[in-house]
Subunit: 141 residues, 3 copies
C-alpha cells in the first residue's frame, strides 16, 4: 500500500445514538475496516434523558441492539453483508436458545446477499438491567 | 484498493463441523482477513446426533478446539502462522496454568514459521460441560 | 494485493515486558494490521522476579495497562490514533464509572489527532489481584 494515500480514521456517530459515556467512538472506519463498539439495547437518544433500554426482555433488547449496530454500519457505508464477526455477550446461559431464535429470525428478514458473519457467544456480567451486548467487525469492499 | 475487484465474503464450513446452532458461519474470509467463530471441544459432527465434547477434561476439550479452529483456517487457505489473535475463554481461573501447558505443547508441535499470535484469556460462563472456547483472527498473504 | 510482496508477521516485544506465560506474542503486526494481546497492570519486567501489578487500585492498574498497550503499539510503529478497538475487561460492574473517568482523563492527555477507538467493556473473571485487562486492534497507514 506504499503508493496509497494515508488512510483516514473516521468516527461513526449515528444521530440515534446517545453520547458515549467515555472518550470512545460508537464505531470507527479506517480504509476498508469498520469496527462497531459494544452496543446494547438502548432506545434512540432523547436529549436530556438518561439512556433507557428498549424493554426488560431479551427479545426487545436484542432487536434494539441489532438496530444500533446496523445504524453504525450504515453510517460507515457498510451493511450486515460486510460483517465478519459478531461478538454476543449474554448474562445467562439459559438465554442461548432464545437468543438463537431471535438471531435467526432477524437475519432471515435481512435478505443477506453474503454468508452470515462468524460469531462468538459468551456469558459475562453486564450493567444492571442489560441482558445482551453485541459488537461487530466489518470488512468493506 | 480503488482499482481492485470487489472482495468476496466466503463462508468456511469444514466437513467435520456440526451445523451452527444459528444463522452464523464457523468462519468467514474476505480479502486477506479470516475470522474464525468461537470454537469449542466438539468432536466431528455425526449426522443425526447432538454435538458432543471430546471429553470432560480441559486437555481433551482444548486439543479438540484447536483442531476445530485449524480446520476452519485450512478451509480458508490459512494456517496457524497467519493467526494474529487467539481469544481464549475459560470458565475457571484455576485452569490458567494447565491451559498454558497444553497451549505451549500444542504450538511447539506445529512447527510455526512465524511468531505466535497475540492472545487474550478471560474467564466467562460457557454452556454446561464446556470448559474452553477459542476464536481467532487471521491475516493472510 | 496480488502484486504485493508477501506480508511478514512480526512479533512486538517491548523491552519493558515480561516474557509471556505461554507461547503467544504481546503483539503482532502483519501488513497494516496490528493486534495487541490482553495487557494487565504489570510493572515493567524485572529479571528473576515474578510479574507484579502497579498497585491494588483500579487507577494504578489501568494506567499501567495503558502504558503496556502503548509500548506494544509503539514497538509496531503505531500510536493510539491507529487503534480501532479497545476491549476492556473489568471484574466488577461497580468499577464502570471510575474506569470511564480514568479513561477520559488519560486520553484527554494523549493529544489524539484522530477520533478515539471504539470500545467494548464487559465484566469477567481475571486472575486474583487483577482488576482490569485491555487488548487493542489497530490499523496503520
Amino acid at each position: 500500500m506504499s503508493d496509497a494515500a494515508p488512510l483516514t480514521k473516521t468516527a461513526l456517530t449515528p444521530p440515534t445514538h446517545t453520547t458515549p459515556p467515555a472518550k470512545f467512538s460508537h464505531g470507527v472506519r479506517k480504509g476498508n475496516i469498520l469496527q462497531v463498539a459494544g452496543q446494547v439495547g438502548f432506545l434512540p437518544a432523547v436529549e436530556g434523558q438518561a439512556p433507557a433500554p428498549a424493554g426488560p426482555t431479551l427479545r426487545e433488547q436484542t432487536l434494539q441492539t441489532f438496530a444500533n449496530v446496523q445504524a453504525i454500519l450504515e453510517e460507515g457505508g457498510a451493511s450486515w453483508d460486510d460483517v465478519m464477526m459478531m461478538r454476543v455477550y449474554l448474562t445467562d446461559t439459559g438465554h442461548f436458545a432464545e437468543l438463537n431464535e431471535i438471531y435467526d429470525q432477524y437475519f432471515a428478514e435481512q435478505d443477506l446477499q453474503a454468508p452470515p458473519a462468524a460469531r462468538t457467544t459468551v456469558y459475562v456480567g453486564l450493567p444492571k438491567g442489560l441482558l445482551v451486548e453485541i459488537d461487530a467487525l466489518a470488512v468493506l469492499g
